[in-house]
Each structure stands twice: as C-alpha cells, then as structure tokens.
Assembly symmetry: C2
Homo-oligomer: 669 residues x 2
C-alpha cells in the first residue's frame, strides 16, 4: 500500500496532543471538524459528521472534588482539589460518580475485586457505612465501585499504587523514566454498560425516548481518584489488622492495614461535585467506496476524545489512523479502489463508555448486520514498544498473523512484527515456533464492544505494547496528566517507528479484508476456539461437578457439527468456481455472517445489550471477558435450571450456525 | 409453467380425506412419509422429514368430555360425549383446555369479545364462579376463553349459532346445502401464541430445555365445544335479562337471555378429560435447487394435519400443493431450473398453534434470515368459489396481482382471477377499476405467523373464498365432522377448477419470486402502507387525543424518509447495470431484507416471539391483526410513557430501514 511515514504520524500526534479534547467539549467538536476536512482533502468519497445527544458527566470547575480527613470540625488533611497543575484540563474525577458529601471510617480493599471483599468479610471487617479506599488495577474501576456499594460502602477513593504504576519507587518516574510520578492521578468513568446511559439498545438521536436518570444503570455512591502522594496520608490513618502480604502496595511509608478501628471521631470526608449533563458528541465517518462490492463494509475505528492530552489513549491511535487515511486517500487518487467499501470512523466519547461507537452501531444495526465484514479498532495503539498485541474474533487470527508477517519489526533488524510478537507472547512458551497469543474480545474496554457484543460483527483490536511480564495494569501514566507528547517521544517511540509498524499491520489487515476475493476468515479456527471454551469450562468448574449437574454431550456434539461444517465449507470454497461472482459472494456472505449467528436476539439474561452467546464482559470485571457468559453466570449462582436453559440456547445456536454453513435447510436425501 | 390438472387435484383430495390425520398421530406421520416419497418421485433434489417433540392435547377416547345440566344429583340434560358418529375421529374438543369438572350457573356472553364482557358488567352480570356459554365467530376462540377466565368464569362452553353458521335455518344445511347441520361441532385449539408451548423462541428438538407446563402460556379454565342442537337445551335454562338484539342468535326455540337467575340448584356441569401429551410431529421439506442463486429461498408451505377429514382445512391446500409439486418436478425433469431455490414444506400440527412451521422457523432462524426471499402459504385454499382472497406483506401485492392477471377465472369465461377478485373485493367499491383488497398478515391464523411475526420474512397467504358479503365467520363446516370430500365436491368445487385457479395463482407468484432477475417487491407500496397505518392510528384514536399526548411528527418524517428512500432505490434498480450480477444481487438483497428490518430483536413488550413492529395479533383477537401493535397496546392502556417509548422504537426502526435502502452509512458529502 501507499507509503506511510513516521514523520507524518509524529506531526499528527503533536497536533492531537496540543490541548485536551474530552468527549462533549468544544475542542473535541473542533477536532472532529478538522479530521473530517482532512478525510475530504485526502480524497475520501464521502464524509459525515454524526451527532448524538447523550448523558455525560464532568467535574465542576468552580467546586473541586476533595478528599479529606476530618476530626470533628478540624480538617487533618485534604487534597488540593486541583490535582492537575494545568488548569485547562478537567481535574481528575470518576465520570458518572453521583455528587454528594459523605463521611465515614476508612477500609482498605486492595484492588476491590469480589475476592478482596470476600476476604474482608472473612476477616470480620464490615464495609457498611464506610468509605473504601482501593488501588487501581486488575479489574475495571467501575466494578470496584460497584463491589464496594454492594458491600454497603457509602463512598470510594481510588488511587494508583506504586507497586502497580511505579515499580521502581517514586524516584524512578516520569520524567526520568516512564513510571507514574507521585502526583499522577488516573481519571476514568465508573459506569457499567455500553453507550449512552439513557438510551440502551437505541441510538441517542433526537427523537428517541430517554430513560429517566433514576432508571438508568448508573453508579450509586460517590467515588474519586487520587494520587499515591495523597493516598499515603489516608492509608496512614488505618490502624487495624495488617493487610495480607499480597494486598500490600509499594508506598514507602505505609504499613498497609485493613481498616480504621480507632474510637475517636476521625473520618474520611469525600466531597464530589460532578454534574451529569446532556451533551452533543460527534463521530466522523469517512468512506472509500468499494469497486466491486460497495455494499460490503470493512470498518476501521479509533476514538478521538481523551481525558487529558491523550498522547497514548487514544491519540497514538488517532495519529496512526490519520496516516492510514492519508495513504488510502492517495491510493484512491492514483486510481486504485478496494473491492469492498472501507469506512473510517473517528468516535466521540469513548471514555464515557464507548458511547460514540455504540450509538452508531445501534443506529445502523440493520445496515451493519447485512453489510459489515469486520471492524478493526485501534485505541491506545502504541502504549509500549516491545510487541504487537491483538484481540480478535477467533476466525480472524490468521489474517492478522499474515499481515504481521509482512511488516518489519520496528526495533529488530531482519525480524518481522510477527516474529517479535510470537517471541514475546507465545501461545506455548516452550515451543520455538509457537504462534502468538490472541486475546478474545469480550470486555467493554474499547469501541469494538458494541460491534462484537451487540451486533456480532467480527472484530480486531490492535496495539503495540510493553513487556507483559512486567505484570502491571497498563502503561503507567494511563488516563493521567502525564499522557503527553513528550512522554511518548522520550519513553516509548522516539522515532515513531513503532507507530509505523502498528499502522502497517492495521493497514495490511484492512486491505486483506477489503480486497481479497474470498474473505480471509477461517471458520475452522472458530471451531477450535469453541472446543477450547468447552474444555476451559470443564477445567474451571470441574468435570465432575459439571457432569453431575449438566449434560454437556449435546454442546460437544454441536461444536463438532460446527467444526465439520466449517471444514466442509472451507473445502467447498477452495474448489469453488471463481469465475462465478455469485458463487463467491454466496461463500463470502456465509463467512461474513457466521459470527452474527452467535447472537441471541434477546440478549443474555438481564443484559439485553449483550447478545453474543460466546463472549461478554465478566460480571466481576467489565474489562475482562467471559466465554459462554450466560452459562457461566448461572453456574456461579448455582442455578442449574437456568444453566441448563443457557446451555440449551448456546447449543441450539451453534447448531444453527453450523447448519447455515452447510445449507442445512436445503440439504437432504 | 407445466400443466396442472384439476383431476389430479381431485385425486389428491380424495386420498387426503379418506381418513382423519390429526397432528401427532400415526396417520399424519404415514401421510408425511407418503408426501415425502411423492416429492422424491416428482424429481425434487432433496427431501427431509423433520421431527419435533412438542406438547399436544387430545380428548380421552375412554372418557368423553360432556356438558350437562344438573339439579342436585339429577342430570336434566347431557350431551352424548360422542358427538361425531364416526368414532375413528377424535371427538370434538378444545385443544389445550385443562381437564377438570366444574359446576356453575350459566351466563351467555355472545361472541365473547372484550366488548361483550364489558356489556355484561354494565348490565350488572358477574361471571365470577360461573360457566360462560358463547357462540363461535368474530374472534379467535382462545381469546373468548381467556376473556371469560379474566372475568372470573370457571368454565366455558362454545357453540356454533345458526345465525353465523346456518343462516337459512336448520332445514337448509348439509347435505342439502353447504350450511352447518344441527349436530355440527367445531373443534379447535384455544391457546395463545405460536409453536410448541414449552419451547417458545427455540426449536423443540431433543436437546432444547423445556419450560415446566406450569410456566407455559396455557389456558387455565376448562372449555368444550358443542353443537347448536345441544346448545338449545342449555340456552333455554337461562331466565334472566333478555339479550340485546345483536346478541340474539338464530336458534328457533331460544329466547336469548343473559344469565340464570333461578334460586334452585340447577347448574351447568362441564366435564373435560383432555390430556396434554408430548408427541412427535413432522414437517416434510422438499427442495428444488436454484440454478443461479441457490442460496436464496422461496418457500411454499401448507399444513398437513386436520381435525377431522380436513377436506377444506388444510387438504384443499394440500391437494393443490401436491399438484404444484408434481408440476415443478416435471419442469425440473425436463431440464428447467429456477434462478433461486424453491422449498416446499408440508407442516405438522398447525391446528395446535402453527407448531410445525414455528419450530422450523425457530430452528433455522439464522439461515432463513439470510436466505429467505418470501414465504407463500396455502391452508384452507378453497373454502368458497367466488373470489380469490389474499393477505400479504404490502410490497408483495403487485406480484400477486400480476400473477392473478395471468390466470383465467374458474367460473367466468373471458375474465381473469384478478378481474373477479377486484370486482368481489375492491379497495374502493365505487370505482370501476379499483384494485382488489389485500389483507395484512398479522394474526396467528396459519403457518405464515412465525415467518412474518418472528422472522420478518415477507409472506403471502392465498385462498379462494365465498361471498364475503355474507358476513359469516368462515365456511360453515370449518373444523367439524362435515369437512368431507363429498361436501367439497357437491357444494364448493365440483370440477376442481377453483382449486386449479388457486394453485395457478400460487405457482405464478412463486415462479416470479424464484425466477425474476430483480425481485418483484415494490417497497414504495410498503411506504404507502406505512402512511396508511399512521392515518389509521390518527383516525382510530383521534388526532386531538393523540396529539395531546404523543408527538407523531418524527414518525411521519421517518415514513416520508422511507418513502423517499424506496423510490430512489426503485429508480436505481430500474437503471442498474443488469450485466453485473453483483449489482443486481446487492439490490435484491435490499429488497429481500427490507421487511426483516422492521423487527425489534427484543420483541414487543411482554411478547418476545412477536418481533415485527408493524404487525402482531391484536391482544383481543389473535386471528386479527393490529398495526403498530406495541404502540396501540400502550395507548389502549393509557400508558403514555410506554406509548412514547414504543413510538420512538418504531420511528427509529423505520428510519433505519430507510437508511439501509439508501446505503445511509456510506453516504455523505
């Protein structure tokens, strides 16, 4: 494809990071308009600026959120309320936290996982009426707050512990190295679900009915993030039981204790003044019309909104996205056109719960269900410089690998991105020729969520990342005031070669999907994944336990039917008459639609937006995924009747998908 | 197409009616096997015998259901319990009525409509603890029973009144004329909903989880049908207020009264011994593979099961169906092949709630959603000899009319079926060139129900019928012991020319759908229908009333968007490059999918099987249809918040369908 240049990506990133552009802001709209203009200038056939009216949440500039320790009328310690020195930024907050002032004794709940709260119960510590302080990491922050609320807490304080964000201690941090400084604070939303909170399942366009806020799925107790500099003060107020070893973080002067047992009236006081506001948000949609099958869409998306400067999340992605757009536009101008239509989408308000992408999918669900071949996502595209990382629908793993084999590794002469990837993240570390690991896309961490989980559109999420053996939650300055151009330039990708490598893999993948005669989707790999999920289920819940309560025979049979049907289909495709465009189209339709058939139109029990029967966010962590989620939930609740029902729905759905590959309706003797 | 012959149809009907073949019976399975063999012999490419395990309901041969009048231990009058003299038939019953014996004072509730029960309340008559006698007609019998149960009744007796079934009195009946004799009893099911009661939404195959019967949607009070000969005895026990004039039926010796007011202990006693049994039912599926687009299906269906001999319902249809199958097979054997695949389906257990067809649609929902072009239904294909009657998805009206123009009228030399149809059932009776009326398909009266209402597959239902000005519920011997070959031969279609005319219209329509290069589906007609539904809404509920509570502007705008988009699309299709098969395929896909886009995947509120936003059975009468059913229900309940929500869902869905026709996602400046 047309030559993409690192210096262009660098210029893009410099522009994108020169000011904050949070979702719903004037700055984000201005940037949307500029991106639209760029796509036009690049030679795109059509562009749209799509608006939605959605519920966002902001801190109040005039009344900063504060966390303090009080004793009667005395304030012993309080955060400044202006934790970012650049006052043009939104001060750190947890979006959608309700406002309110609460006071209570403090409890420390480690990462705020279910198991952490369970341990507190085991140790006799009751969270009722208390404020819970937790460290960021391991699970989605919104789930931490939800777990705390379920445990009876009245407020939450979140902080970034150096054990997770500055593992060499406070002296080895930005701007000496890439680790998080003492005053770094991570902003982020704490809501469950996808899209505008007031219009689940439907697009937040003018005429759509809104839920009253009281009926929307929104957090119920106030929450506020702080730095580890501030957290030190609060953690030192704890005087109760000593925390278990693996609960102890890395703040030097803190002996991690579990709770406050003093009899005086010292309390934490949490004041949150966030406002929920209805705002306009914008997606930019640009199109390059397909030459042969214009009604088949390969969609590439990246969000535009950023909490602070967004140098990594999302602007490393946006910088790549814009260079890819330029290259594609150049190719069109020089006479080329893809077989299928390519759509580029710049999403608004992803940080508030993948809102822009979800509303767009909800608005265009019919058109996308019929015409979308695949969705490719880049978000924090370059958050490290060691290796490619990818999550994808299982039958897309081959096309990504093939693409990655075409791209030289940014840092190792003579190696490809694929080789470095397979080396860094091997499926089987002991094998020298192991392929790289591919994650499932089941969480709500970025804009693929509505595509996969609501619409059943096969998707890919790509990024270049750091050494995963570090075992840290994410790149250290994630969602903080330190996500700057300078940080990227000095500590991740000085020459933007990693950006270039990433966007080349993205571009190669997109072109293969848009231009191949037969779609590069290998359903046998999907079958293999299904088998693995069944084995995982048996391993996780115990064969014995499962078999005493559920009969998995039909599911296994359905998976083997699916496996058989996909192999037969691949063979038929391999020998198909390629001179007959309708024959090829018919095969491609089956490939394109296969994953759509894994949807249950009614959604998972109690979760109508999550319609994929194989993947959904775990109920304990929205960022990580569960396979067979409805079944797993029922098993975890010990409801074997519901489990049987979910198992039967999954089985019949896999059978039905297999039958379609096999033209089951018109087969016979 | 290949010559179809009336004598073959007659032979078919003679065979089909020589014994009873109720759903779930050995006889019905034997017939399924024979039909499958016929399709094979005719030259079909593939045939299947598809089995489902479903909950049916039968009377007990050893313990007949009886209705009696008792006074203490004395029985004053009782039905024989063997109301059909042919003991090889199932004795008349209401399928799915629970068994049980109840005694109570009698109330007469006319047709058992909501308005009838309301009138009883107005007249101070309480149904609580009573048995309600009602006449058949106007609405679905199951709704009568449900209304009675809602009014507090403990049992129901249904009968056929001569005012509706023998309008010239008891002397002018079969076998002097076609009217219902005194001892005719109409059997029929009384359940709401489609398909197997225990597996709503999913196919009743081996491994699917079943609801317990207690959680299924099944009738709650016993019910039994009787003849007007027997009804006379019971109606004469009524001694209360005189019934309103339009409640009075045509039994000579009866003065229609509303209730029993006597103080003695005379009571009606109803004994029902029905059994609900899990049974195997069978569909026969035969396929003629399409030459050019084998992955596009035109489906023709007819049910096979009959309550008694079924000469009209369904065997007049089955006789036609088999002759059509023979003709198509002949054409294939002589070298022809349709462009698209043609599927013939002989459904099992329609009489129990369109079970065979619904289970098949539920099992193959993914494949059908992708590949089904249209479904054509014939059931009681020849129930009269005056005129064609059709119900259809609005954009299919043209293709039926065109087909009917090709077929000579069976009874009027020089006229076409179309001309006779337009004359008998004109849209605008005052205009000489008015087109014929086309009904909507929104009820659950036959096997199109799951296709249209669950799957959004555009459908047609065809029949030849009697003079609709007679204003009678249906052909008089419907579902009685008098549905015999002799009856058909003597009183409806002696030379089987009406059958021939009907099946020729069906065949012509099917071939146009299967063979046309561009699908004969006119979306502008769908747009017109949408406009009409909006006007009807305003007329019915009052512009003023609606406008005070709901803003219809967005809906009207969406309809005009849809109208615009369909016109543009028709123009684009008219001028499309017909040498490019992918261009034509792409247009045809839009036409085929258009109605699918009217589905709401979650279904109507509380009715998940009904997913079509434009059509559903009326909540008061499952046989008649409501347009905008979710909206209408909310308005009728006076719940304007719900109405607003439904309106918004309908609006956004129509907009989305319009956008897809217009390739909205990739449009732009």
């Amino acid at each position: 494809m047309h030559k993409m240049r690192p210096e262009n990506i660098e210029t893009n990133l410099r522009w994108l990071t020169n000011q904050s552009h949070v979702g719903g802001s004037e700055e984000s709209l201005a940037m949307a308009r500029q991106i639209r203009q760029k796509l036009r200038d690049f030679g795109f056939d059509a562009t749209q600026l799509k608006r939605y009216k959605v519920l966002l949440s902001y801190p109040d500039r005039t009344k900063p959120n504060t966390v303090s320790f009080v004793e009667g009328d005395n304030t012993l310690f309080h955060t400044t309320g202006q934790q970012y020195s650049d006052l043009s930024l939104l001060q750190p907050y947890n979006a959608y936290s309700p406002n309110g002032t609460v006071e209570g004794k403090l409890v420390y709940a480690n990462y705020g996982r279910m198991e952490d709260f369970k341990k507190l119960v085991d140790k006799g510590i009751n969270c009722t009426g208390r404020i819970v302080i937790m460290r960021y990491g391991k699970i989605y922050r919104g789930d931490k707050v939800e777990h705390a609320a379920a445990a009876g807490a009245i407020g939450v304080v979140l902080y970034s512990d150096p054990a997770d964000y500055a593992i060499n201690g406070a002296n080895d941090t930005y701007n000496v190295s890439w680790w998080l400084p003492r005053d770094g604070v991570q902003t982020g939303d704490i809501r469950a679900g996808m899209g505008d909170p007031l219009t689940p399942m439907y697009p937040a366009i003018e005429n759509v009915a809104r839920l009253p806020e009281s009926e929307a799925n929104l957090p119920t107790i106030p929450s506020q993030p702080i730095s580890y500099k501030d957290a030190e003060q609060f953690l030192n107020m704890l005087d109760g039981q000593t925390a278990p070893i693996d609960w102890r973080g890395g703040i030097k002067n803190v002996n991690y204790k579990l709770d406050q047992t003093d009899n005086n009236d010292r309390k934490m006081k949490l004041e949150v003044y966030n406002k929920r506001l209805t705002k306009d948000i914008y997606n930019v949609i640009g199109t390059i019309r397909g030459a042969v099958e214009p009604d088949r869409y390969v969609i590439i998306g990246n969000h535009r909104d950023a909490w602070t400067y967004g140098a990594i999340d999302p602007s490393s992605g946006t910088a790549c996205f814009l260079e890819l757009a330029r290259a594609l536009g150049q190719m069109v101008q020089s006479g080329w056109r893809p077989r299928r239509t390519i759509i580029l989408a710049s999403w608004g308000a992803e940080e508030f719960g993948t809102i822009g992408s979800t509303e767009w999918v909800e608005e265009n669900i019919n058109e996308l269900s019929e015409k979308a071949v695949a969705y490719l996502n880049i978000d924090a595209a370059v958050n490290g410089n060691q290796t490619l990382w990818a999550g994808a629908s299982p039958h897309l793993s081959q096309v990504i690998q093939e693409a990655a084999k075409q791209v030289p590794c940014p840092h190792h002469e003579g190696m490809t991105v694929y080789q470095q990837w397979a080396k860094s993240l091997p499926v089987e570390p002991r094998k020298s020729d192991s392929p790289p690991k591919l994650d499932i896309l089941a969480g709500t961490g970025s804009d693929f969520a509505a595509f996969v989980l609501f619409a059943g559109i096969s998707s890919i999420d790509l990024q270049y990342t750091y050494d995963q053996n570090l075992n840290v939650p994410f790149y250290p300055v994630y969602h903080t005031q330190y996500e700057t151009f300078d940080y990227m330039k000095r500590f991740i990708d000085p020459d933007f070669s990693v950006h270039l490598g990433t966007v080349r893999v993205l571009g190669e993948t997109a072109l293969r999907l848009a231009d191949s005669f037969v779609l590069p989707m290998n359903c046998s790999l999907y079958a293999d994944a299904l088998s693995t999920y069944v084995s995982d289920l048996e391993t996780h819940y115990g064969k014995r336990n499962l078999h005493d309560n559920l009969f998995l025979g039909y599911l296994k049979h359905a998976v083997s039917q699916f496996s058989q049907a996909s192999e037969t289909m691949q063979e038929v495709i391999a020998t198909a008459d390629r001179t007959n465009p309708l024959v090829v189209r018919s095969h491609n339709d089956k490939l394109m639609q296969m994953e759509r058939h894994m949807l249950n139109p009614s959604g998972l029990p109690g979760r109508p937006q999550y319609r994929h029967l194989l993947f959904a966010p775990s109920q304990h962590d929205s960022y990580s995924g569960a396979t067979f989620p409805g079944l797993v939930d029922a098993i975890e609740e010990g409801d074997w009747v519901a489990a049987h029902q979910q198992l039967s729905i999954i089985t019949v759905t896999i059978e039905s998908a297999a039958k379609n590959m096999d033209d089951g309706v018109i087969k016979g003797q």
